[in-house]
């Protein structure tokens, strides 16, 4: 199903010429956007918004295919092995950067993928129920020193888990018990029902609770305060200078894809995301829109891989 007419053309033509010809006329057929998660997740929602608008700007349908599995490793592996012609795009999250260190044996590496664009990012936050005895980060850490405090996350190996675990054990030096859930929504439900003490989560999953006052934000892992929770101090303000963690949604193509095609896709994604309606809607739930060119995107992803590597190694986490 991934065999394409493009391949036939490439085989027939001289290798150098083929790249240019492809780039000039790209895209000539439908593009598959392979999402590494089930339909309905955050990455899926962003991918569908962008695919919809890219279809219009590129003049070819961009079709979303969900290929969930092993924290998006299944999809990443399949895209890394696809034809490097720009017709198969991977849509994934921070996990692809984390997995490089977290997983003992991966059948692909970041060298097999080219980062096209990382248009959406959102900071991690720490939130508690309004009736929880500690309502500031300082109080929370003091409380955690004397009591067994539990915190819920969207799952083991998620950015939320690794960032929070790193913060507690390496920066704050307290013992907090991690309670993983299957996704952000049940984690929020657990703290709403006061089953656990706190939740560490990416902002979009909890934004509505901040708006309604159902939960309180006590720290945000961003360089500055965020508009969705203006009263919530940053970790830096609370004395943990420079602790920043964010989750993002990014797009990748197999390495070896023609630079001109990568640039065309980068432009198409960025154009889709700055669409005023799309940008505004993503921003209302706490996302940051970032417009990066191909080189900047590459630098961003490399930086993410190394900073998550440091945290994963500090926590001594490993999945085999």
């Amino acid at each position: 199903m991934k065999k394409t007419f493009g391949v036939a053309v490439t085989i027939g033509a001289a290798a150098f010429a083929a790249g240019t010809v492809q780039a000039q006329t790209f895209p000539e057929q439908r593009i598959s956007m392979v999402v590494g998660y089930s339909a309905g997740g955050f990455a899926d929602t962003v991918a569908r918004i962008i695919a919809e608008r890219m279809s219009n700007s590129l003049g070819q349908p961009v079709v979303v295919e969900n290929q969930p599995g092993a924290a998006s490793n299944v999809a990443a592996l399949s895209v890394s092995r696809a034809d490097a012609d720009g017709y198969t795009i991977l849509a994934t999250t921070t996990s692809v950067a984390i997995n490089q260190t977290l997983y003992g044996s991966l059948e692909y590496s970041m060298d097999d993928l080219i980062a096209v664009a990382v248009p959406v990012a959102a900071p991690e936050v720490l939130a508690v129920h309004p009736e929880f005895p500690a309502q500031t980060l300082g109080d929370f850490l003091a409380y955690a020193g004397d009591n067994a405090v539990t915190y819920a996350t969207a799952g083991v190996g998620s950015g939320s888990h690794i960032a929070a675990g790193y913060f507690y054990s390496e920066l704050a030096g307290v013992n907090a018990i991690h309670v993983p859930f299957g996704g952000g929504a049940p984690a929020v439900g657990a703290v709403l029902g006061q089953q656990v003490g706190a939740t560490a989560i990416t902002i979009p999953g909890i934004a509505s609770q901040f708006e309604s006052g159902g939960l309180n934000c006590i720290a945000v892992a961003a360089p500055e305060r965020v508009a969705i929770a203006p009263d919530c101090p940053t970790y830096s303000e609370a004395g943990f200078d420079g602790f920043v963690a964010q989750s993002w949604v990014g797009f990748f193509v197999p390495s070896g894809t023609d630079a001109a095609i990568v640039a065309a896709l980068n432009a198409a994604v960025n154009e889709a995301i700055v669409d005023p309606v799309a940008a505004e809607r993503l921003a209302t739930i706490g996302n940051t829109i970032q417009i990066l060119d191909v080189a900047e995107t590459d630098a961003f992803v490399r930086g993410e891989v190394s900073s998550w590597a440091e945290r994963v190694q500090a926590l001594d986490l490993r999945v085999d």
Binding site: G40, A70, N73, L192, S208, R281
Partner: protein, 506 residues
């Protein structure tokens, strides 16, 4: 009290021509997708998601929700006619629906499921209108310990639904739980029992298991049977024979009422409730019945109760989704995603800030349920004619729908090979008289049980007393023990009766 004005507002929104049209489109697509075994609501919803970018958010949600409960309506058709369940709830419907079809009573079964679905849906909608905020809070008071105990109760109930010994049922539940552990562990990410296949890292496709155990094994069981002419002839498909008689109606009102209550109660628990509801409703009816032996052999109550519960649960599932912003499953999550695309943040404030959306949606459920009845009743006459297709053409078609339905879940040819494996297992189980439905529920509930068990132990700092110290959890466990004791006792009594007087008293 502005309840009436809210209802009026909702009716005005839901009855606008555009919303009526999209509601109809939603339930129509839901019916079509649901009738194709294995093709779930997710396929339909994600197909129509792009359309929702261009319409009002209320209209978008009305349509997506229509697909969701339309699929639940449609799911019973293939279960009754062909023994092909696409969901765990439909597997319960197979137990008595398929025997009814073999006895020439497919029309009655389909008719009553339609009515049952309508009653269950309606009951849950009323609940949704009156009690949403309260019920959502009740759902939140369920922590990991409560979920784990509830699952235990559901599994014990499931083990008693097949005829024969409850021990065999429990053994199959445990086997199902083990099959459900295949894939990556939620807490360590460690791959378990995958034998090197990354395709099952997220667990074995439920549809592959259900279709293998029920559909493939049924085809195998019918292959090569001499004189397997259907017991029903053409004239039995006259329109009059399709409709339930007075006896059927009288037997169905009780199960409908109880199924509505059970389904609504379990439906408000995000994710877990809907799968358990129909099993518990079935087990309850069997226990309630004066003649439990008829169950599994074409008892109308065995079709009506789970179908009512199933649809009540599907409708009640909107309570946590709408009032808390906590989706129970992937389809609900996708609907909330559609709201985000429209700039509405799903969560507690939706009901107050967007009353037109909340009440319009709720009232559209009612309209949608009426559409579904209108759609389904005339179709019954068409569906039952499927059974007149000669078996030599029917079974390759069944295999085709099984294979393509299983493939469609993950777009994975590997899953097609898995359906083969589970077809063999199902055939062996049929020959050994081991019940398949409890195994299926075991698979579905395995991760819910294990994960909540481990979470509860984490939260209680390793104190297993947490399960009996928390009152709701303790209540479920007591109920589970009672169900188990009762079914063991009645099984022994039956066995003694069956063995004559030769068995020593115990």
């Amino acid at each position: 009290m502005d309840f009436l004005s809210n209802v009026t507002l909702g009716l005005q929104v839901a009855a606008s021509p555009e919303n009526l049209l999209f509601c109809f489109l939603g339930v129509l697509l839901g019916t079509l997708v649901g009738t194709l075994p294995g093709i779930g609501a997710l396929a339909g919803v994600s197909l129509l998601l792009p359309v929702t970018f261009y319409v009002e958010p209320t209209t978008a949600l009305v349509m997506l929700a229509g697909i969701y409960y339309g699929v639940t309506y449609g799911g019973s058709t293939a279960a009754i006619l062909l023994n092909l369940p696409g969901s765990s709830a439909a597997a319960v419907t197979c137990l008595d629906g398929y025997p009814m079809a073999q006895q020439g009573r497919a029309g009655v079964a389909l008719f009553m499921t339609t009515i049952a679905s309508f009653v269950g849906g309606t009951f849950a909608i009323i609940l949704l209108m009156v009690f949403t905020p309260v019920l959502a809070r009740v759902g939140l008071s369920f922590g990991p310990a409560e979920y784990a105990s509830l699952v235990v109760l559901g599994l014990i109930a499931a083990s008693t639904i097949s005829s024969g010994s409850p021990v065999r049922g429990i053994a199959m539940v445990v086997l199902g739980l083990l099959i459900g552990t295949v894939g990556s562990d939620f807490e360590t990410g460690r791959l378990r029992f995958t034998f090197g296949y990354l395709e099952v890292a997220e667990g074995i496709s439920f549809v592959a298991i259900a279709m293998g155990l029920f559909g493939v094994s049924e085809v195998l069981n019918n292959i090569g049977v001499a004189n397997r002419t259907t017991t029903v002839s053409k004239d039995e498909y006259s329109w009059r024979k399709l409709y339930p008689n007075r006896e059927d109606w009288r037997a169905s009102w009780g199960p409908m009422w109880r199924g509505s209550v059970l389904g609504s109660a379990f439906g408000i628990l995000p994710g877990t409730g809907a799968s358990i509801a129909s099993f518990i409703a079935y087990a309850f009816e069997k226990r309630w019945s004066r003649d439990p032996d008829r169950f599994g052999k074409g008892a109308i109550e065995g079709v009506v109760a789970p179908e009512t519960a199933n649809n009540a649960a599907a409708q009640a599932a909107f309570i946590p989704t709408l009032s808390l912003g906590i989706p129970g499953d992937a389809v609900m999550a996708l609907m909330l995603g559609a709201l985000i695309i429209h700039g509405i943040t799903p969560g507690p404030q939706v009901v107050t800030n967007h009353p037109e959306l909340f009440w319009g949606l709720v009232m559209s459920f009612w309209i949608g349920n009426i559409f579904l009845v209108i759609l389904h009743l005339p179709l019954i006459g068409v569906w039952v004619r499927i059974l007149l297709v000669p078996y030599k053409y029917l079974y390759p078609s069944m295999l085709f729908f099984i294979c393509i339905g299983v493939y469609s879940v993950n777009n994975s040819p590997f899953d097609v090979l898995l359906v083969l494996l589970f077809g063999m297992l199902g055939y062996a189980m049929l020959k050994l008289d081991l019940p398949a439905a409890p195994l299926l529920l075991g698979v579905v509930l395995s991760p819910i049980l294990e994960n909540n068990l481990r979470r509860a132990m984490l939260i209680s700092s390793g104190d297993p007393m947490t399960f009996v110290e928390r009152p709701i959890s303790a209540g479920f466990l007591v109920a589970a023990v009672l169900v188990l004791l009762m079914s063991l006792r009645s099984f022994r009594r039956n066995k003694r009766l069956a063995d004559g007087l030769s068995v020593e008293p115990d």
